[in-house]
């Protein structure tokens, strides 16, 4: 683990642990949504950033997770049964979506996954008997954990240094989402530092070479989709419970593209990239909409323009900045050394010329 990651990790941990009790309910709600998007985009980062499979269908799995839990809970089944069902469903469908990736790559794969997302979206919108169509499903309850209902209560307070702080109603569920994010992050970290992580990157960098070294590119391609989809499914399950009302819009193709942008802006293939990406793509715009609504209309155009500029100057995302600084310093040192060596050689040459004369 690099120093940069530890540093960012500590700042992040302090922020997500200590800040929300001081926020109003809307802020806590936004923080929860942010973390949910972090889980979803972490999965996409595995598929796109590590394994190099260009997927534009991620929001479909986000939706499948959300609808699975919502439909099951409406039928009176526990969230804790809905979650594993969503996980298994997303894993299986993720594998299925991986198959086109065995035949086509890059932009063609992106189109194939986009088609999948469109199909799933249409099911959500048109199959009213199952999904409620455009009216969606409402009244999705929150789960209970160890007998503690995460629905939360308004009116709780916290005493700190003799000052009374009112606590947001959604705080209990927020900490539940935070715990889920921590577990999801730890599991992905473990997976990526195991030999699997190297195999995924080998697949991304050069699938033909990988295969010649005994790396089963077929299995790793399919699993990169399946595991990524599971992360989206878990995020969706949390999302349904958080918002209490779901409809097809957040799971449309546009959402997939936004998630892809979050991964790219944060830094595809950088472990903490999705954290930054979801912050910029989701938390900050929502926050601006809350505190300065007049600015909010400008956020998306500015964000879009920034992405264009970034793709030109910083194609590897924000998390690549330290790497770039280091690379620049290294090359400066190298050219300084080269200049020194050249002048030395010139000096020696001049000297020997002098001797020759």
């Amino acid at each position: 683990m690099s120093k940069r990651n530890i540093f960012l990790g500590v700042i992040f941990a302090a922020m997500v642990l200590c800040l929300p009790p001081f926020l109003k309910n809307y802020g806590v709600y936004m923080f929860s949504t942010w973390l949910i998007y972090v889980i979803a985009t972490m999965g996409l980062n595995l598929t796109v950033g590590y394994a190099g499979q260009k997927s534009l269908g991620h929001a479909a799995f986000f939706g499948i997770g959300a609808y699975t839990v919502a439909i099951m809970m409406k039928a009176g089944i526990s969230w804790w049964l809905g979650l594993p069902t969503a996980v298994v469903l997303c894993f299986v469908l993720g594998l299925v979506l991986g198959f086109p990736a065995l035949r086509v790559q890059t932009i063609y794969l992106a189109f194939a996954t986009l088609g999948f997302n469109t199909a799933v979206f249409l099911v959500m919108r048109n199959e009213e008997w199952l999904t409620g169509g455009t009216f969606g499903l409402n009244g999705i309850p929150r789960p209970a954990i160890f007998g503690f209902d995460l629905k939360g209560q308004a009116g709780s307070v916290m005493h700190l240094f003799g000052v009374e702080f009112p606590l947001a109603k959604d705080l209990a569920f927020y900490y539940f989402v935070l715990a889920a994010t921590a577990i999801a992050t730890a599991l992905l970290w473990g997976l990526l530092r195991s030999p699997w992580g190297k195999a995924f990157q080998a697949l991304r960098d050069n699938p033909i070479r990988a295969e010649s070294l005994g790396i089963d590119t077929r299995n790793y391609t399919l699993l990169s989709f399946a595991i990524g989809a599971v992360y989206a499914g878990v995020a969706g399950a949390l999302f349904a419970s958080l918002v209490d009302f779901i409809e097809p819009a957040p799971f449309a193709v546009g959402a997939s593209i936004m998630m892809y942008l979050m991964v790219v802006v944060g830094g595809a293939g950088y472990f903490l990239g999705p954290l930054v990406g979801a912050l910029i793509g989701m938390l900050i715009p929502e926050w601006i909409r809350d505190v300065a609504p007049s600015l909010a209309n400008w956020y998306l155009p500015i964000f879009g323009a920034t992405v264009v500029v970034m793709m030109v100057w910083l194609p590897d995302g924000l998390m690549s900045i330290p790497d770039r600084i280091r690379a620049k310093r290294d090359s400066r040192l190298a050219s300084a050394k080269r200049a020194e060596a050249t002048s030395e050689i010139a000096a020696i040459a001049a000297q020997s010329e002098g001797v020759a004369q």
Binding site: L191, R193, S194, P195, W196, G197, K198, A199, Q201, A202, R204, D205, N206, I208, R209, A210, E211, S212, L213, G214, I215, D216, T217, N219, G269, A327
Partner: protein
């Protein structure tokens, strides 16, 4: 006389009306460095691609350690002990040099499930470091492979082929695009790897190369191909003295 590592028998491959390889047979013995030369269009690459499982031969058999592998793809061949290098640069450019070497052998141990819980370097760190030292690329071991010079990447590519202790290494133009001053170094390195393998077991090499001096210097035996046929097989001295080879290859 021990059994050959590689036995190619009556290999044929046609593209439409063009018979790229028309019945080629040869054997490569354990520990041998076997060179394949021939002018452009002589069928070297088609032969090589068949041995690598990239294309299916029309006829004939390819045996590795006495077992038919003519139907095996690249993945299966790697598992059965065939390592290879590529004519063009084929490293994992965003991974460090050391990780390039580790990933080159990790899939040869355990199962996918066991690898999920294996240490990050799969226990291959020492082996990778030893090979890095042998290839004299210690100073770049922690750099991303894509940032290296062409010659250095070529060395990484060759080192990767040896990580998994293959029985047979197929070298596809190891000198292509390499600075002439490095060619001698690669030759010495390959000879050394052949004589003193970094693991206990000796590997056999098959080399395709245009650089005649390199082939003559490196190989124990050389096969000359012309128009999909074997023109001659022999030691470098025999090949050098073969009139037919001189005529066909040099047009003299």
């Amino acid at each position: 006389m021990s059994a050959p590592i590689l036995k190619v028998d009556g290999l044929k491959k046609a593209y439409g009306a063009i018979q790229a390889v028309g019945g080629v047979s040869f054997e490569v013995m354990p520990g041998e460095i076997f060179g394949v030369i021939g002018p452009n269009g002589s069928g070297k690459t088609t032969l090589f691609n068949s041995m690598l499982g990239q294309i299916q031969p029309d006829e004939g058999s390819i045996e590795l350690n006495g077992r038919d592998v003519s139907k095996c793809g690249p993945l299966e061949l790697s598992r059965r002990g065939v390592g290879r290098t590529f004519q063009t640069l084929q490293v994992f450019s965003k991974m460090t040099v050391r990780d390039n070497l580790i990933v080159a052998a990790q899939e040869h141990q355990g199962t996918m499930l066991s690898r999920m819980f294996a240490p990050s370097d799969s226990g291959l760190g020492d082996k990778a470091d030893a090979l890095i030292k042998r290839f004299r690329i210690e100073h770049v071991a922690q750099l991303k492979a894509g940032t290296l010079s062409y010659g250095q990447q070529k060395l990484v590519d060759i080192a990767m082929a040896f990580m998994s202790e293959p029985d047979l290494v197929l070298l596809d133009e190891p000198c292509a695009g390499v600075n002439p001053s490095l060619v001698g170094g690669i030759s010495a390195l390959l000879k050394d790897l052949n004589q003193n393998p970094h693991h206990g077991k000796k590997s056999s090499f098959v080399v395709i190369e245009h650089n005649m001096d390199f082939v003559m210097d490196l190989c124990h035996r050389i096969m000359v191909m012309v128009e999909g046929q074997v023109l001659a097989v022999g030691t470098p001295a025999e090949i050098r003295g073969n009139k037919a080879v001189l005529e066909a290859y040099l047009g003299a």
